[in-house]
């Protein structure tokens, strides 16, 4: 009886980096959380604790901060710089994946900023294997809510079905989206512009779609992003259905024409899907 090592990776998660740009008295602020994951010839450390080929996760963290000294523009290019470095500079490492989440701050002064706790995150993930870097961009924790223009009816009914059909409900979700880029020599300007357009398309599709199912909305969102950005080939979406229950006020002699809702917590629906550009 013998055993063997399968797929594996290691890295540093939750590297909290704040970068202040002081080129002028009007400071710039980048607030990032960086996660690294490296793979390669790491049999020795797993089998025998021989760490000769192991670049410590502490070193990976140092590298993130050191690379930030030169400036951080689009998170996609910063992630790629890091991913390329880990593979190109480390003989034992053949593959790196760098994920970055960016917190958005709103300027309230030359060197003053505000935001709420939590909030929507802009994301990227770059994978590099020594030859090719693949880049995805996206958002997570982006909450969207329509107060009307959402229905759900005509669904399959079995012996466990009790849900009534509805032609007017609240539709609320917390979007996680990721899309790839297949661009020639993309630079910071490309990434910033593409992200802005993609996010705008996402919001517009959600607001504009008269929804017969959350699946339909998901598809509409993916399609709209693909239409907006020719360099995107695929959009992956995860859209939890955050149920809002019309509160039964009849019991108190009151009507409730779509006005008073209980926001649900657990359980929630979860709709996940991919929308792709069709090959010609």
């Amino acid at each position: 009886m013998s055993f063997t090592l399968g797929p594996n990776n290691y890295g540093k998660s939750g590297i909290r980096l704040v970068r202040v740009g002081r080129e002028s008295s009007r400071h710039d602020l980048r607030d990032l959380t960086v996660h690294t994951a490296l793979s390669g010839d790491l049999d020795a450390t797993h089998y025998r604790g021989d760490n000769t080929g192991v670049l410590p996760t502490d070193t990976q963290k140092n590298t993130v901060y050191a690379f930030a000294r030169d400036g951080v523009d689009a998170i996609e290019t910063f992630a790629e710089r890091l991913a390329r470095h880990f593979v190109d500079a480390t003989p034992s490492i053949t593959r790196a994946r760098v994920r970055i989440e960016q917190h958005h701050w709103t300027r309230i002064g030359d060197h003053s900023f505000t935001r709420g706790e939590g909030g929507e995150l802009r994301t990227t993930e770059v994978a590099y294997d020594g030859r090719t870097a693949t880049t995805t961009a996206g958002v997570t924790d982006l909450l969207l809510l329509n107060t009307t223009d959402s229905a759900f009816s005509g669904f399959l009914v079995d012996e466990y079905t009790t849900l009534p059909e509805t032609d007017d409900r609240i539709l609320a979700t917390a979007v996680t989206a990721a899309w790839d880029y297949q661009a020639e020599d993309p630079d910071d300007a490309f990434y910033e512009h593409a992200f802005t357009r993609a996010r705008g398309a996402l919001l517009a599709a959600f607001a504009d779609t008269h929804s017969l199912s959350l699946q339909q909305t998901l598809y509409a969102v993916g399609e709209r992003i693909l239409k907006a950005i020719p360099e995107v080939g695929e959009v992956r979406l995860s859209m939890p259905n955050r149920h809002h229950y019309l509160y039964d006020l009849d019991r108190f002699g009151l009507d409730n024409p779509g006005m008073v809702f209980q926001a649900g917590d657990l359980p929630y629906g979860l709709i996940e899907g991919t929308v792709r550009r069709e090959e010609a």
Copy 2:
């Protein structure tokens, strides 16, 4: 040896209420979390499980939703309506406290809204004892960050002190603030206007203060709110010091003139204080 019941209260926490205003095709949205707490003659249920005087927390929840049918304007007036009802309509209840947190949504269409997960909350707490309603308003989870104009030096040094003095650091905090109102017949318009001014004063004071200590900033914030709103007599502030550590890049042959920081998590400083209008 005998025992007795001391101070007590009971209620429903985490009532998630979404209220849609459909007066026009441009829908209005209020997203609230309501907490109730009632006190009164409740000895019988504690001593003997005699629930004659107990208004169930389920009923309290129903009441919140039913009262929302008439519309929700400023959260302060909605909280007061509820607090007065629980005491005035329930013989066994002599005191009610209603706390509300409001989530802010940004309009992206006539019936479409967006926000990030989490976020800054607007808060109120109304206490009513059958005669007088006292009202506080405030914010929580409001993150603020200055990239400069913050120092910390000249502090007390003992045998356990290792912190170096600094004349330029990042100052970051997550403000929880609450202030009282002592106004004649305040209405929805008063509360909306006062809140907007108070929040504006808070942000301005944070951005404008050249900070020699977070305590000084806290005091400046409180004073600015008191100056902005004559009807406020006291401001209570809780301002965690979210440390940002200048990353030591010297080790890699790089300087770091206030540019690359590690955002700390635990532990954090916690500064709490009250600023009051001086009696004449």
Copy 3:
């Protein structure tokens, strides 16, 4: 118009301390989170940013780790050592409050331990004003559930009441309890023994009480702790009612005699109360 500083305090929160006892090859492990809060003559820093009297929160943190070098036995005595030090050694500080939460680890080897994420915490809070130290002990996040012997009926009914009476429900709660000690020269052994007895009394009272209301259970828990420990004068309890809803299986042609429940999340009931030893 003038303003003044009201009550205030400052300190370090979330100091994560792990103390390994290596007196023998069978290591001892203490895992604590410590929070400090100091008050005193701190007008100068608030009004003018003059930090002469400010013992930095960073120093407070260092002190916690340094004091742990001598060993940590009962958290109550460790908290008192710290509180006394901050006041007695710092002229500007007249009052200190030290709160500690202890994570419990289960031994699985001479130097190996296990626990689940989160978990019940043992707590203490010591306040010292230069003369007297007052000590409370307690627990938080202690989940308790009875599958039967809980009823809720005979309650007050108004126009918003829809809750049916029940003579058999699940009763579930997450106890936060704190009690004071008024003991002559309490030592580590006293605190360890008293905590064990108090926690045991709490569990036994919950399990033994045929509950007609959660208030009744709360009172029974407080009374049982007071009976078990003569040195305790008062018990403060916070017991959220974690509702479990009997799932309606009738709709699927199935009965449900108290077997299948949906565990609720938000909202939850919240019952808070104090039980005191009657003065003779």
Copy 4:
């Protein structure tokens, strides 16, 4: 330009089910969180909002509660019953994945139980495609800590490396593990027994291994589970490295021979790997 639907699934997440067994006065308690995800011919709802083939997530939730009426034994068999039902009873559904997390409660009476908030979870995931059900079992949020017998040295050094080598450190992790079962007609007894053995092997391997790297510990854990249970072919492990930093007490004239540590939070190392039984 045209677009197409790629991989997709939908279901209900966070179904909170508590099942009380009342066969005797000594009640049994199962506390589960169930997540369902279905796939199949769902083009119509995505493209046109035609929900003919959509089994609502609300129905999926009802099904979970209804199936629990018959009793819940091992979570693996309960998950499989559900997965088979969703595919076999629903023409449009060709694939189901059911994930269950089980919260452990400790008995303190015939119908009374206790646990801490959060805690270690036992997990399972069953996927069924109409022909074959594949079953994994595992744990998540299982915290383990060794106070000694852990070193990290001999690692790769580059220009960003500052980490000193150590021959004695705290090793702490929060294990997420999942392993498959390839058993003939496994029943409840098989699953309960196998889980107990696997968890025991995991703990023993962690406690016994003199660790030269967390990767080595990870491999040892996987190998030990494979050795303990012949029906397991592969173990997937995720082991964050929860750093504990030896606190520098030198500055206060104190030594610190592996006794006083600061438990770190962010960032953390993350080691992930798979250990497989070698094909003969």
